[in-house]
């Protein structure tokens, strides 16, 4: 069924908005973990634990943001997750751009 033709579900949008408001700070905490990894990668000090934490938080954001309507956020988070997977060489420029896009997506939702 075309999304425009779907009957509305009373209360669903409000419920999702309330859940987002409740967990928004956690989303930004995960973003901060990614930024911390980015900073370390920039000065060549990225260690395995910091990388793993950023990978984990990127994975969590990728799996959640689209559910809140932030599909670009999911796309950026997924790119970051893949970039930090394992011990592959990091494309720092791409990582930085995706981190910027991810933060912008988070900030776009009140």
């Amino acid at each position: 069924m075309d999304r425009l033709m779907e009957p509305e579900t009373p209360g669903l949008d409000a419920a999702i908005a309330a859940i987002w408001k409740k967990h928004r700070e956690l989303m930004f905490t995960r973003m901060d973990t990614i930024d911390a990894a980015l900073s370390s990668a920039a000065d060549g000090t990225l260690d395995a634990d910091t990388r793993a934490a950023a990978h984990r938080d990127a994975h969590k954001l990728a799996g959640a943001l689209g559910t809140f309507g932030l599909h670009e956020g999911t796309a950026h988070a997924r790119s970051i997750e893949h970039a930090l997977d394992g011990d592959s060489v990091i494309d720092f420029g791409s990582l930085r751009e995706n981190a910027r896009g991810l933060r912008a997506a988070l900030e776009s939702r009140a």
């Binding site: 999304r3 779907e6 579900t9 009373p10 209360g11 669903l12 419920a15 999702i16 859940i19 987002w20 409740k22 967990h23 956690l26 994975h59 969590k60 990728a62 799996g63 959640a64 943001l65 689209g66 559910t67 809140f68 599909h71 999911t74």
Partner: protein
């Protein structure tokens, strides 16, 4: 007939949205657990019509939880759908081999999650 769903998901935000959308879009009775072990106990208490199960959880993960559900005669018959942010074809095949009735990707669409669950389980009500 009101379907009874057990949702096992450790991430609070995803669990809360999934519960809200299944309750509001389908009118299902949703019971939620935040870990594999809590889910196993709840499954035996609630005897749901289906389980919606996260894959990556600390401690007892999704595949481990499914294996435990299948090993318990009281819960072995309950259909299980995995919910995962990693849906590579090899992983999907592994989950189906474990006995899952289907795999749904995260992020899910809150408007259609219930429809997707019903489709996989061939529920027409």
């Amino acid at each position: 007939m009101t379907r009874r769903i057990l949702l096992i998901e450790d991430e609070d935000d995803i669990r809360e949205v999934a519960q809200a959308c299944l309750e509001l879009t389908r009118g299902w009775e949703v019971h939620a657990a935040n870990s594999g072990n809590a889910g196993l106990a709840m499954a035996q208490d609630v005897m749901p019509d289906a389980v919606l199960l996260d894959v990556m959880m600390p401690g007892l993960d999704g595949p481990g939880t499914l294996t435990a559900l299948r090993a318990n005669p009281a819960t072995s018959h309950i259909p299980v759908i995995f919910l995962t942010a990693k849906v590579h074809s090899s992983e999907r095949a592994r989950f189906m081999d474990l006995g899952a009735s289907g795999v749904l990707a995260k992020p899910f669409d809150p408007m259609t999650l219930g429809d997707d669950v019903a489709r996989l389980l061939q529920w027409t009500d």
